[in-house]
Every structure is written in structure tokens, then in C-alpha cells.
């Protein structure tokens, strides 16, 4: 990762594979639990009991189940980890295990939007309501993302530079994209990358204040009468590795990571350009980088929040990008099952793309009653078995962060 003016920059990209993946969502903990849930077309929303939602318009979310402890994490370390870090740790460990790794030297790149917000909330409440400073120092320390992520790295036995990206809801995709670039350009042989976010009162109330949450608690991405998103929580991590390094240690791969493109939508802080200009730009550049035409993309895991403005912009971007091939492009939003995981969304949805490649199925956009007329693509409304060779995922965030990643299943030799 270091920069030295005298060192040559490698402009010859190297093939990059995903040698490990891990996931934790409200659908379940681990690859198989999530694959089973998405394959069955389940939704995973429940009443939020982590904080008081009695005065919110909405009381449900994609709240995940977490273990009380982990055998490989000392109790004191576990106690200091916030909820988001615990989820990140569990999925990152699964990513390492499936990659056949048990820690080691590698850069770590993580995306998060809310960091350890619940810890910050406790700090605030104690400062406002109490007169004692007891416990406040530890809250200040453990609120910080870098404190939490270095603790996660210690628990994983991973050593290396840490980069934390906070580009709102595109953070997780950006993290994997940065890892791709680092490996592709020879700056690292492998990188542990992913994203996470846990439910927090501030963020939940924030989306509610924007009236962005679906009052029914059931998001219906691309439905004509969609009325908002559902918040979720979780984490997704991958091991991004050079093909040569993976082959050298006989590691299996989930597929190749072919391309990453990012752009900034400057239309508005919280609203996308109505024609999806930035999304069009990232999809176009990513497919060009991958050497693909739109019709060669078998599945798009859309950003698909279920908010009126996002879905229109993304649908228009997909139509503009795919042109005459639009009707054949199969698209779904897995946020309809687990909600919007904010900083974790892009990485979790990347892992869902890898599961689609591994298990040859298309996860669905559930709960759609009448497809929005803006949709010209093949909206997958029920899970289906399908030949899936290439999957693309879009992530967009507040502030205009746009990112696209493309994965391809490789025939095993």
C-alpha cells in the first residue's frame, strides 16, 4: 500500500479471485444459512428490541441474531466489541476459513457508515443524564471505528495496514473495490475486505425522520406503490486474492472479481440524479473494464432500496446501460428480504452474488404486487434456478457514492 516516488507502478492488471467469503444477516449466520433463506424466498424482519422504537413510525427491521460469546475471542475483548464489530468478526472469520486461511499478513479494508454508534449513544446519555464519568473513557475508545477494527484484526490473527472507508451505503462495495485494485495492481497478494453496520437508534430515527422507512415495515423494491426501505444489519467479508497466489496454495475460489468502478453523483446529498447518471457511469465503466457486454451479465443485484426516488433512478440507469438487451437482464433487490444494511450493504450483496454463482440461482425481489412501469428489465420476483455465470452488484449512498462490482464464476479445472 505504501507509496514511493521511485517505485514503478504496475499498469498490467493481474487476475483477481474471491478465495473466501462470509456473511451474517437477519437471514442467518453463514453462507449456507443465507443461501437457504434466499433460495426459499424468505423475508427476515422482526420487531426491533435493541432500543426504544415505541415513538417511531416503524418498529421492525432486519435485526440479526448474534451469539453471546465466541470460543476464540477472550471474554474481555468480546465485551469491548460493539455489535457491528461482532458481526464483522464472525463474517470475516468465515471468509478466512473458506479461503483456507487462519490469519496472517494482509491489508484489511472495511466499509462502515454507522461505526459503533450504539456505544456513542450510551456515552451521550451518560454525559447528559449522569454526573459520573465512570465508564466514559472506555466508551470513547470503543466508539472509534479504528479501535474496533484493530480489535477485530487481533481476534482474527490478521496483521497489516487497515483502511476504513465511510462512503455511506456504498462503503462495503467500495472496500471490496479498493481491495480489487490493490491486488490487481500487485500492491498485495491478498486483502481481507468487507463491510458492516449494526442497528442503532440514531440511524434508525434518522431514516424515519426522512420518512424513508416503509410504514408497513415491508420494503417492496421496484413495486409501483413502494413506500420506503427497511433498515437491516449485518456484515459481509471476502478474501480478495491474486489468481496466482490462490493457485499457489491450491485454494478454491468463489469466482473472479472482474471489475470495480466508482463515481460521484453530485445531484443532491441524499437523492440520486433522476436519470441515474452516476449509476450508468459505473455500470458502463465496470462492464467495459471486464470486457463484457450488458447481455453477458446474467444477474444484477440492484441497490434497490424500495424508496420512490432510488428505484426510478436505478431502473432508468439499467435501461440506458443495457439498451436493447434490457428486457433480458435479470434484476432483483435482496433488500426486500433482509433490509438495507447501509455500510454493510455492498459487501453483503457481493457475497449474495457469489452465492448465486456458487449455487446457480437468482435471489428475488419479494413482496412486489405491481411492477413499477419504469422497470423494463426482468424483475426476478421469486427465487429461481438459473445458469449464472456473471453477476453485477450496484451500491449507492448518501453523498452520491456510487459503486459497481462484477463477479464471474470460473469453470473449475
Amino acid at each position: 500500500m505504501a507509496f514511493h516516488a521511485d517505485h514503478e507502478f504496475s499498469s498490467q492488471p493481474r487476475p483477481v479471485v474471491i478465495s473466501g467469503a462470509g456473511i451474517l444477516t437477519s437471514m442467518g449466520c453463514g453462507l449456507d444459512a443465507n443461501a437457504a433463506g434466499f433460495r426459499a424466498g424468505r423475508t427476515a424482519f422482526r420487531p426491533v428490541d435493541l432500543f426504544d422504537v415505541s415513538r417511531q413510525r416503524v418498529g421492525t427491521a432486519g435485526q440479526a441474531e448474534l451469539p453471546d460469546s465466541l470460543p476464540y475471542v477472550p471474554r474481555k475483548e468480546w465485551a469491548r466489541m460493539d455489535r457491528g464489530t461482532r458481526m464483522a468478526l464472525i463474517s470475516a472469520r468465515e471468509a478466512l476459513e473458506t479461503a483456507g486461511l487462519s490469519g496472517g499478513e494482509m491489508p484489511v479494508i472495511v466499509g462502515t457508515s454507522a461505526i459503533a454508534m450504539p456505544v456513542g449513544e450510551k456515552y451521550y446519555l451518560q454525559a447528559v443524564e449522569g454526573t459520573s464519568r465512570r465508564g466514559q473513557f472506555l466508551r470513547v475508545e470503543t466508539y472509534q471505528a479504528q479501535y474496533q477494527m484493530t480489535a477485530m484484526m487481533r481476534a482474527l490473527g490478521v496483521r497489516g495496514p487497515l483502511r476504513i472507508i465511510s462512503n455511506a451505503c456504498a462503503s462495503g462495495a467500495n472496500a471490496i473495490g479498493h481491495a480489487y485494485q490493490m491486488v490487481s495492481e500487485g500492491k498485495a497478494e491478498r486483502v481481507l475486505a468487507g463491510g458492516y453496520d449494526a442497528l442503532s437508534q440514531l440511524v434508525f430515527a434518522g431514516f424515519d425522520s426522512l420518512q424513508a422507512l416503509s410504514p408497513s415495515g415491508i420494503p417492496r423494491p421496484f413495486d409501483a406503490a413502494r413506500d420506503g426501505l427497511a433498515i437491516g444489519e449485518g456484515a459481509g467479508f471476502v478474501v480478495v486474492e491474486s489468481l496466482d497466489a490462490a493457485r499457489a496454495r491450491n485454494a478454491d475460489s468463489f469466482g473472479s472479481l472482474l471489475a470495480y468502478a466508482a463515481a460521484t453523483d453530485i445531484h443532491h446529498l441524499t437523492q440520486p440524479h433522476p436519470e441515474g447518471d452516476a449509476a450508468l457511469g459505473t455500470m458502463t465503466r465496470a462492464t467495459r473494464q471486464a470486457g463484457l457486454e450488458p447481455e453477458q451479465v446474467d444477474y444484477i443485484n440492484s441497490h434497490g432500496t424500495g424508496t420512490p426516488l432510488n428505484d426510478v433512478a436505478e431502473a432508468r440507469a439499467i435501461s440506458r446501460w443495457a439498451g436493447a438487451a434490457t428486457a433480458k437482464i435479470r434484476v432483483s433487490s435482496t433488500k426486500s428480504s433482509i433490509g438495507h444494511l447501509l455500510g454493510g450493504a455492498g459487501s453483503v450483496e457481493s457475497v449474495l452474488c457469489l452465492l448465486a454463482l456458487r449455487d446457480q440461482f437468482l435471489p428475488a425481489s419479494l413482496s412486489v404486487r405491481e411492477v413499477d412501469p419504469v422497470v423494463e428489465f426482468d424483475l426476478v420476483q421469486q427465487p429461481r434456478d438459473a445458469r449464472v455465470k456473471v453477476a453485477l452488484t450496484n451500491s449507492f449512498g448518501f453523498g452520491g457514492a456510487n459503486a459497481t462490482l462484477i463477479f464471474r464464476k470460473e469453470d473449475q479445472a
Binding site: A2, F3, H4, A5, F9, S11, R55, Q56, R57, T112, I115, G120, E121, Y123, Y124, L125, A127, V128, T131, R133, Q136, V140, E141, Q144, A145, Q146, Y147, T150, P161, L162, R163, I164, I165, S166, N167, A168, N174, Q181, E185, K187, Q201, L202, A205, G206, F207, S209, L210, Q211, A263, T264, D265, I266, L269, A278, G281, G397, F398, G399, G400, A401
Partner: protein
């Protein structure tokens, strides 16, 4: 690719708005006057925290709709960015032919609006302001910068301790080498409120919470000191030797201490926290400046201001090269090596 140069810098600090105000204060060696943040409590006396604030109102900020309702952190970032780019370059960017990348490096971020918004949530979430919430997001300042300069090129916000700005510099160099951008603006802004100021004093009553922004503009082939190296940060291990981490960083940078090399360190004037930097560079022969001793602690913002000050001193030929280092609170020792080859 042509060598990457630091083609512009910008500063907002308790010394004032602009690099000249910063350098005037550093030359005089006099700390700006302290002010106080006072917080009323239901039970007991108010909590009073001595702080260093950015004085007065910004001048020269454009009438941009994005800046209408932002908290101070975005105004600091915008002012420092405008100064770093300069009017000619801003005009060039506006033509649309120039791809400006933006990277913000933060530790605390938009604390004022987060504090206010969560206060409203606790009081009554049904009337919490939808105007405040989007500004609480970490990447709001960097988004405003891209919008202000109408740039759709890459934009990232990095989080970390006070040494994170050097990771942002390394990422900027990566973008330029890859050809993602024609120039990259790295900005490290921070703002304070009672919440963050009191938090800092939990580490030491001698810390002075501060605020501001430092901006560094990088462009290949431009006039200015060159970015010679940004070594990998050295991770801080709990209970580990922080002086050794700095020594490792210094060695990895390739910097040579020949008496004409400036060291811009991150000592704050709090002996307990300065000890590793004292030990690591005890035999430093060249000039040494410690910006935080005068400007207080604003994490990455002051680390960026160290770099801004170093560039100014190189411009005045007071040194040939500069090693800029920062010992972060709980993550890393990091730095960069700048000057002519």
C-alpha cells in the same frame, strides 16, 4: 507519470482562515487565545471545557446551495479546499475537462449535528429534524466538496485516528498513478462541540480540544514539493513501544536527517503522550516543529496542518525536505516524506 507534487495547501485553524494566518502564528510561537465550551447540567454546576475555536466567520466561501445548512466542519473543509486549489485551478475544473478526486480523512466527523440530532431523538423522535440527519453522515463534507467543484471523479471518506490523513495521501497517489484523476484534493477537517471536547479531556486534562481543516492538493508535474514517500502506517499494539513504531516508520519513509531536513511531528505538549516522539527523534539534527503544541488537538486536521506548515517552510527555503509524522491515538504511527528529489 510525472512526479506527484504538492501543488497547493489550505488551512483553517484557531490561528485564522488561511495558510498565512497559520504561519504567522507559528512564526510568532504564540498560542491563540482559549475560549470555553460550557454545558449546563440538570444537577450540578455546568461543565466547562477550555478549547481553541476557529475565530470569526469564513470569508470567500461561494454562495453554493450545498453550503447553506452545513455544520462548521463542512465550512472548514470548503475554505481549506478553495485555498489549496486556488482560483485558476478552480476555473479549470469548472470547464469539466479536469477530473478532481476528493478524499476526506476524519476521526470525529460531524459531531455538532450528530449531537443535536440525537438530542432531538431522545427528546421526541417523531419531530427529529430531517435536515440535520444527512449532515451527520461521515461523508457529508467530502460530498459537498465534490458538488461545490462539480466533480464526478472518485470521492472517498476515510476514518481513523489522527494519523489517518497519511493513508488518504497514499490513496491519492494511487488514484493519480492509475489515472483515475488529474488532481486529488486531500482534506482533513474536524469540528468540536461539548461532546467531543469533553471526550478528549478524558485522556488528559492538559489536552486542548481544537478544530479546523488542513487541505493538500496533489497534481503530477505541477510546481511544488514532491511527494517522495508515504510508508505503510505502523500499527500500534496495546502496550507496545510507540517510539519503536515511529522509528520503524521513519526508516521506511527513506528520510535522511542531514541537518537540512525538517521534522514536523505531532507532539501536543502533554508529556505523557509526547514521550514516544521525544525518544524516537531524540537525536534529530534538523529543525523541528510541533504544530499541535500551539493549535491544540484536532486529530487529523492538525496532522494535515503539520504538513501544510512543512510545505510553507520548504517554500521559504528554511529546509530542503521534510518528514511529517503523526502518532495517532490508538491505531497507527504514520507520516510522509516530501521535498525535491
Amino acid at each position: 507519470m510525472k512526479p506527484i507534487a504538492i501543488a497547493g495547501t489550505g488551512a483553517v485553524s484557531p490561528a485564522g482562515w488561511g495558510v498565512p494566518a497559520l504561519m504567522e502564528m507559528l512564526d510568532a510561537g504564540v498560542r491563540p487565545p482559549l475560549s470555553e465550551l460550557s454545558r449546563e447540567r440538570r444537577d450540578g454546576p455546568p461543565v466547562v471545557t477550555p478549547v481553541l475555536r476557529v475565530p470569526g466567520a469564513p470569508s470567500g466561501l461561494p454562495r453554493n446551495p450545498r453550503l447553506r445548512r452545513v455544520s462548521p466542519i463542512s465550512k472548514f473543509a470548503a475554505a481549506a479546499a478553495i485555498e489549496a486549489l486556488g482560483p485558476e485551478r478552480i476555473e479549470r475544473i469548472a470547464t469539466g475537462d479536469f477530473r478532481l478526486g476528493v478524499i476526506c480523512s476524519l476521526m470525529n466527523g460531524c459531531v455538532n449535528y450528530s449531537n443535536r440530532f440525537f438530542g432531538e431523538v431522545v427528546s421526541d423522535p417523531s419531530v427529529a429534524s430531517p435536515i440535520l440527519f444527512p449532515e451527520t453522515v461521515f461523508n457529508a463534507p467530502s460530498s459537498h466538496l465534490s458538488a461545490m467543484f462539480a466533480s464526478t471523479a472518485p470521492n472517498d471518506t476515510l476514518l481513523g485516528d489522527g494519523a489517518e490523513v497519511f493513508t488518504a495521501l497514499e490513496l491519492a497517489a494511487e488514484w493519480l498513478q492509475r489515472g483515475d484523476c488529474d488532481g486529488v484534493l486531500v482534506v482533513a477537517p474536524e469540528e468540536i462541540d461539548w461532546l467531543s471536547a469533553e471526550a478528549l479531556q478524558l485522556y488528559s486534562d492538559h489536552y486542548v480540544p481544537s478544530e479546523g481543516a488542513g487541505a493538500i492538493y496533489l497534481e503530477p508535474g505541477a510546481e511544488g514539493p514532491l511527494l517522495l514517500s508515504v510508508p505503510d502506517p505502523v500499527a500500534l499494539v496495546p502496550g507496545g513501544d510507540r517510539a519503536a513504531a515511529l522509528e520503524e516508520l521513519s526508516a521506511a519513509s527513506g528520510a535522511s536527517d542531514d541537518g537540512r531536513t525538517l521534522l514536523a511531528d505531532s507532539r501536543t505538549g502533554v508529556p505523557r503522550y509526547d514521550d514516544p516522539e521525544n525518544r524516537a527523534f531524540a537525536s534529530w539534527q534538523g529543525r523541528r516543529i510541533s504544530v499541535k503544541k500551539l493549535l491544540g488537538e484536532s486529530y487529523g486536521a492538525t496532522s494535515a496542518l503539520q504538513l501544510v506548515a512543512a510545505v510553507a517552510l520548504l517554500g521559504r527555503k528554511e529546509a530542503d525536505r521534510a518528514l511529517v509524522t503523526a502518532l495517532g491515538g490508538n491505531e497507527q504511527a504514520a507520516g510522509c516524506w516530501i521535498g525535491q528529489k
